[in-house]
């Protein structure tokens, strides 16, 4: 069903529409915060809290913006509050690789590549990491990212370019090129 119809039905209290609306966003939101925090449990907590808050404020959502944009904005507020509470840098040792069959050689390799990527992302400054992941995970346009982060489009572009350059340099340093 189309997203705008789902939103209307969910706002009217249709439980199935609510679930369907959020079900589509759950993997993206979790994937985004997993890469943002490099901590599977924290990412899950932020994702669930963001979805609950979004559900409770669904009446205030206006479809001028994409639902995913609105949801990730709420998620970033939750993330900011969580960080304020924890006052700690993202942990790298609890990276959730998401790999299933660990015995398969290619799954191990893929897991290692993901871990390398997670470590490289964790090393990026937070604002650059946000921009890179909003582009990478969601594929948002520069204008949409600027709207979410409340900064000019030029800043988004330069942060993305800086993050790509940093990641590329780090990949070269690690011999991943």
């Amino acid at each position: 069903m189309r997203e705008d119809l789902l939103v209307v039905r969910a706002k009217a209290g249709d439980r199935e529409a609510m679930e369907e609306l959020f079900r589509g966003q759950y993997p993206l939101l979790k994937g985004f915060f997993l890469k943002m925090t490099a901590d599977g449990h924290l990412a899950e907590d932020i994702t669930q809290e963001a979805m609950l808050r979004a559900l409770m404020s669904l009446g205030r959502y206006r479809p001028e913006a994409k639902f995913s944009t609105w949801l990730v904005t709420i998620g970033l507020n939750v993330y900011r509050n969580q960080l304020r509470g924890r006052r700690s840098r993202p942990r790298q040792e609890t990276v959730d690789t998401g790999a299933g069959a660990a015995e398969a050689e290619d799954a191990i390799e893929a897991g290692m590549a993901r871990r390398e990527m997670a470590e490289m992302l964790a090393a990026l400054p937070e604002e650059k990491r946000k921009v890179f992941l909003l582009k990478h995970v969601y594929g948002f346009k520069y204008e949409e990212i600027a709207g979410i982060l409340g900064c000019p489009v030029g800043t988004v572009r330069s942060r993305l370019h800086d993050s790509v350059m940093s990641l590329r340099a780090e990949a070269v340093r690690r011999g991943l090129k």
């Binding site: 209307v8 706002k11 009217a12 209290g13 439980r15 609510m18 679930e19 959020f22 079900r23 759950y26 993997p27 979790k30 994937g31 997993l34 890469k35 599977g40 990412a43 899950e44 669930q48 979805m51 609950l52 559900l55 409770m56 669904l58 009446g59 205030r60 959730d96 998401g98 893929a110 590549a113 993901r114 990527m117 997670a118 582009k135 990478h136 995970v137 594929g139 346009k141 520069y142 572009r157 993305l160 370019h161 790509v164 990641l167 590329r168 990949a171 090129k177």
Partner: protein, 136 residues
Amino acid sequence: MILDCERVREAAIDLACGEEPAGSGRAGIEEHLERCPACRDFQREVMLLFASGAESPDLDWRRFHATMERGARQLAARARLEAGFFAALACAAASVLWLGLGAVHSALPVYLYLGIAANLSLFFLPAYLSHRRREV
């Protein structure tokens, strides 16, 4: 040559993430990429960077359903609370009016209070419904 490469690499990042490159035309960029192996490598690396790590994470569907359940319950509770608030507002206004009238006329009948409350409820009903409609 150096400036050209810089500009092309900036454009390569924009192109890799589906944006229109600022300033430079696509034809010029493609022409440069054809004759510059270093920039071609750069473009390939950037594209790989954007293609990497796009797998779906492990999802806790049980917790997802619990969150949806909790949200639906809280929404229903909030709707009841709002309806109660509007009803209480109507009753409070009716009581104030009744007490005011009671000060002027002694021994007012109870049905007058009920009449005032009913009329005020009718007055508050559109306000409540428009509030609900704004939410939807």
